[in-house]
């Protein structure tokens, strides 16, 4: 860097004390479901320019545009959850939601995301231009078109009060060691997602672990359809490929602080763009994504007035709330505390929920 950084508008968040300081949280895969079909049409018809950048890129790749996907009459698991479609679609909805946040009411003091949401966070923070963002997100989302590497499986680790059940955690650690001793099995913790652990592994490993995990709530352990074993060493080749396909030139200095999946804060002025690139296309692809830690760092180091979770969907809300409860943030120590707080003065605003969404606009 040889020239001085651009000067931020000093009045943006220093002079208006009425503004609420918020941390924005970007969603990951699995958030555009049946209920979200038509999200862009319904909520973002005013952002044609933004969506156009994404659609143009996909057209050039010979892929269905996200406008087309969003406008389908019926939701199709096969079509809408496939990485090459879901990633761009979720990104489109989320970045449109980000744009829709009322900046007169809210100061965005930091941005984080879950898993693929990290790419969206980069875009929202300005570390990726809209063009760069769709190139990166679409490329990463399309990595599995020739066959998905491994899979992911989700399992709850909290009790009924949303407090971490340490015995379950200890058992999981033990079972992971046990499974990985078996020939041909490789399973890792892929994401720490508040009250859930997401495992990433090869099919054999996940199957073996599934047999050890007691079934809870009639649904878990639950295999995540169309998900690859991201954030595990199984994706080493993918990371190498990603770096060969995507250039460091895609990355800029972020304009807003970012919190990554290790809980590291990337400040706008001091971010080493090359390091950000390496983290994004190497480190986080092959190492555990600790979303719970990102939330912990977000609240402890920025003390936001509220958290805004971008749509589509609102499934991330539970994981965020569980992360907060386990830090006893705002004196919350159980699910009921969280529900009571949300009723009174919501701390989490999920844009995927109509009622909370209108508070953000």
């Amino acid at each position: 860097m040889t020239t001085a950084h651009s000067t931020k508008n000093l009045t943006s968040n220093l002079t208006n004390k009425a503004k609420k300081r918020v941390v924005v949280i970007c969603p990951g895969r699995g958030t555009y479901n049946k209920e979200e079909l038509g999200y862009l049409q319904r909520l973002h018809s005013d952002k044609a320019e933004l969506i156009q950048v994404i659609d143009n890129f996909r057209q050039q790749q010979g892929q269905l545009t996200i406008s087309e996907l969003d406008a389908k009459e019926q939701y199709s698991m096969r079509l809408h959850t496939a990485g090459e479609n879901a990633s761009a679609l979720i990104y489109g909805c989320a970045i449109a939601d980000f744009q829709a946040i009322n900046k007169d009411k809210y100061d965005i003091v930091a941005i984080t995301g879950n898993s693929m949401g990290w790419y969206i966070a980069l875009a929202a923070a300005g570390a990726l231009t809209p063009e760069a963002a769709i190139e990166l997100i679409n490329t990463m989302g399309s990595m599995m078109t020739d066959g998905i590497v491994g899979g992911q499986m989700i399992y709850p680790i909290t009790d009924d009060n949303w407090l971490i059940d340490h015995e379950v955690v200890r058992n999981i650690e033990r079972w992971l060691i046990e499974v990985n001793k078996k020939e041909g099995c490789a399973v890792y913790i892929s994401i720490n997602l508040g009250g859930y652990t997401v495992f990433g592994g090869n099919k054999m490993g996940l199957k073996a672990l599934e047999l050890l995990l007691p079934v809870v709530q009639d649904r878990y352990p639950m295999n995540l359809f169309n998900h690859a074993a991201f954030h595990t060493p199984l994706l080493n080749d993918t990371a190498i490929k990603a770096q060969s396909l995507l250039s460091t030139d895609l990355f800029n200095q972020p304009q807003i602080p970012l919190i990554d999946g290790l809980g590291k804060i990337w400040q706008p002025q001091s971010t080493d763009v090359k390091a950000l690139y390496n983290y994004t296309l190497s480190t986080q692809v092959v190492t555990r994504y600790n979303f719970s830690k990102a939330i912990e760092v977000a609240v402890k180091e920025f003390a936001p007035d509220q958290l805004i979770i971008l749509g589509p969907g609102s499934t991330l809300g539970g994981g965020v709330a569980q992360s907060l409860i386990n830090q006893q943030w705002l004196d919350m120590s159980s699910k009921s505390d969280f529900i009571a707080l949300q009723k009174q003065t919501p701390f989490i605003l999920a844009m995927g929920l109509a009622e909370q969404r209108k508070l953000v606009l």
Partner: protein, 750 residues
């Protein structure tokens, strides 16, 4: 915020805005020192965070929300040397190291330094370091053991930790110990110019240089942050440089701590010398002190206003701003924006922090006085049973003696031999303990069997012996330091009282320095006298929370209790003082010459069932008189017991064995079944354990309807011990015990 705080806060913005910034003769660029533009900005952001934490602490203090305002203002250059070292380089930091902490926290993702430091100011029990017990700079994840030191008492252990890194390598223990400190670690230790005058600093630096001078690797960087003033007393101009630049065994480097680039460059040079060459470095860093010594310090009382203002103009943050502008790294508005955003962010975090719970009762406060018990998988990793063949080789020089009864010194020597063989991380250190075998041969042959890396002859400085042991313990060793005579412990007692004993407490049990400190002590040495070799006061240890103190009176107990002590250190991370009565080391007979009643057979480890209980022992079952004693007093009481029995007075004699904590229940159970109680204490009337015993027994009988049991004590006089036979005139004797006991019993029977 008081005016001065507000002024300092505003000065930065005004000076940057008006571009009136302090100048420097150093013309380095970031590239010259190997830093990128973003590296420099990152360091500046750290400095700003540190500064605003200082200012915020003072705002909070005014509202009764913060309890500690000694800050880092003026010293924020330590961010630069934090960056020069690795997060695995264990660091012992003084209280002006906020920027160091913040910068290091950036090397380990997921840290929350702003929140954590504010919790610490607010004494919240959520503070992840001390659990709300003290404002300390420390972190388990960052390898920063917390310090509360104001007197440089952390330097000796830093020296010890530095010694321990290459020691682990020499002993091929690096792999096992690497979770504490990797093989190529160095140690960082900082302190102020005023503290450099402290004898503790002098001792630690001397010990470091003494070792380095003889080519013993000592990978440590001492950073003297010289702000030119100690509270109100100025450091003489040039004093630090003049004092340290030509010290034998120490490499001296100087840097301008107001200049991030110069500091980083010199720190990297220091790192190279320490890490690659294993040599100690004294890095002299110029700083300034801004905002006074602490929030309560009215600087204007002793300092000219123009000096205060000149110092404030030399603010390292302004120097950094100049570097950023000169090198075209940031624009003025960017710099001010960072400054204001950080301020606002910290204020918001503080609002959350003050809602967090504080420690509320004694139980919560005291929860970490004892460190946690380790799981077997951890405590057992250096411990193994030694087979007979190996033992035969160890004891080959004693093979004709092993089955004979021996005196205490010999038995203790054998116990140590077995323990050294069983615990591969056990290291002994002290004056003359190697080939000479210690003053009383208690460590004889150990250095021949286990090598001089594990049986270390130290220099003549008890503070350094203890510091060495504490530092080694930080790296996972199980040290057994020896203090040659009890009186010598007194010049170094703060290393036990203020440092070793407090570590679990101030780190909420996250750090510990388990060890067994052997001290030869107490009086009654025949033909070798004088106060310093016969000191009979250990009062200084008696009130140290969490400390265990053993005092065997005979060889069999010495073996059993040493094994228990090592077990307590190994499994429960406890700090144990093992007080060995010198006069009983070679004592063989009790009543008559040649009776051999004070000798014992050696119980081998295989025959011994070592437990962790701290219990008294009792001789006899008489109910007329209970004599309570320990050490030499117990020996004399046993002599008296026979005489009294011949007079028809049936006694039971309690040996306390453990002086801290007392086996209160055991004492009460035994003593309260007797008609009379006589306490025999070889230490002084004032401050000796006899006082605690009388209190214990009185309180135990307070709620009883029965008449109080007649209780008397015999103690040493409140005197120092003179030379020669005169010593006995101020110490309890067998005859005195007999006479007092007889009088006590007879008075009762009349």
């Amino acid at each position: 915020m008081s005016d001065r705080n507000q002024l300092v806060r505003d000065n930065f913005i005004n000076a940057v805005n008006s571009n009136i910034l302090p100048t420097s003769t150093i013309k380095l660029t970031p590239k010259d020192v190997g830093l990128s533009a973003t590296d420099v900005i990152d360091l500046f952001e750290t400095q700003v965070i540190s500064r605003h934490l200082d200012l915020q602490s003072r705002i909070m203090q005014k509202k009764g929300q913060s309890f500690y305002t000694i800050g880092s203002s003026g010293h924020e250059g330590n961010a630069a040397y934090a960056k020069a070292f690795r997060p695995t380089d264990m660091s012992f930091l003084h209280y002006r190291s906020g920027a160091f902490m913040i910068q290091r926290s950036k090397q380990v993702p997921g840290q929350t330094p702003i929140y954590d430091m504010l919790l610490s100011f607010a004494a919240s029990k959520d503070d992840p370091t001390s659990g709300g017990r003290h404002k300390v700079l420390g972190s388990k994840a960052l390898n920063i053991p917390p310090q509360t030191s104001t007197i440089a008492s952390h330097l000796p252990k830093a020296m010890g930790a530095a010694f321990s890194v290459p020691l682990a390598k020499r002993l091929a223990l690096s792999d096992k110990l690497s979770k504490n400190m990797p093989e190529d670690s160095l140690i960082v230790c900082n302190f102020g110019d005023a503290s450099s005058n402290h004898s503790t600093t002098q001792g630690a630096l001397n010990a470091t240089a003494w070792a380095a001078y003889q080519s013993i690797p000592m990978p440590i960087v001492y950073v003297c942050e010289d702000n030119g003033i100690g509270i109100s007393t100025a450091t003489p101009e040039g004093w630090i440089a003049a004092n340290y630049k030509d010290r034998a065994g120490l490499s001296y480097l100087y840097c301008d701590g107001l200049n991030l680039l110069d500091t980083y460059q010199k720190a990297k040079q220091a790192e190279k010398i320490a890490r690659e060459q294993g040599k100690p470095v004294f890095l002299h860093m110029r700083t300034v002190r801004i905002l006074g010594h602490a929030g309560s310090d009215a600087e204007f009382v002793y300092r000219e206003m123009k000096d205060i203002e000149a110092t404030e103009f030399n603010d390292p943050l302004l120097h950094s701003a100049r570097i950023l502008l000169e090198n075209n790294l940031l624009a003025k508005d960017d710099i001010i924006n960072i400054y204001q955003e950080v301020e606002q962010r910290i204020a918001k975090v503080a609002q959350q922090v003050i809602t967090k719970a504080k420690l509320e009762n004694a139980e919560e406060v005291m929860a970490s006085i004892k460190p946690p018990v380790l799981p077997e998988s951890v405590s057992g990793q250096y411990h193994k049973l030694v087979n007979e063949e190996q033992r035969n080789a160890l004891f080959t020089h004693e093979k004709h003696n092993l089955n004979k009864q021996q005196h205490c010194a010999k038995l203790l020597n054998w116990a140590l031999m077995d323990l050294m063989a069983e615990n591969e991380n056990m290291v002994m250190c002290g004056e003359d303990i190697a080939k000479k075998g210690g003053v009383y041969n208690v460590t004889a042959k150990l250095s021949q069997r286990f090598g001089t890396n594990r049986v270390i002859n130290t220099l003549l400085d008890e503070q350094s012996i203890l510091g060495l042991a504490i530092g080694m313990a930080h790296n996972g060793f199980l040290p057994i330091p020896e203090i040659q005579f009890l009186a010598y412990a007194h010049n170094a007692e703060d290393q036990i009282r203020g440092e070793a004993a407090t570590l679990p407490f101030f780190s909420n049990g996250q750090f510990s320095n388990a060890m067994v400190i052997r001290i030869a002590g107490l009086a009654y040495q025949k033909g070798f006298g004088g106060h310093f070799h016969n000191d009979n006061s250990f009062a200084v240890f008696r009130d140290i929370p969490g400390l265990i103190m053993a005092c065997p009176s005979n060889g069999a107990d010495a073996v059993a209790m040493m094994r228990t002590s090592v077990k307590l250190a190994r499994e429960q991370q406890r700090l144990v003082i093992f007080l060995e009565p010198i006069a009983l080391y070679m004592t063989k007979d009790l009543h008559d010459e040649g009776d051999g009643m004070w000798t014992s057979n050696y119980v081998t480890p295989a025959q011994d069932n070592v437990d962790s209980s701290i219990k008294i022992s009792t001789f006899g079952e008489g109910k007329t008189l209970c004599i309570i004693s320990y050490g030499n007093g117990y020996y004399l009481s046993r002599q008296a017991e026979k005489i009294l029995a011949e007079q028809g007075i049936e006694c039971r004699v309690i040996d306390l064995r453990w002086l801290a904590p007392l086996d209160e229940r055991g004492i009460i159970e035994q003593a309260l079944t007797c008609d009379n109680i006589l306490i025999v204490d070889e230490c002084r009337q004032t401050g000796s354990i006899s006082e605690a015993l009388v209190t214990l027994l009185a309180e135990a009988q307070t709620n009883s309807d029965e008449k109080m049991i007649k209780t008397k004590r015999i103690t040493a006089k409140d005197s120092f011990i003179p030379l020669g036979a005169a010593a006995y005139s101020v110490l309890p004797s067998t005859q005195q015990i007999v006479d007092t006991a007889t009088a006590l019993v007879n008075k009762g029977s009349k």
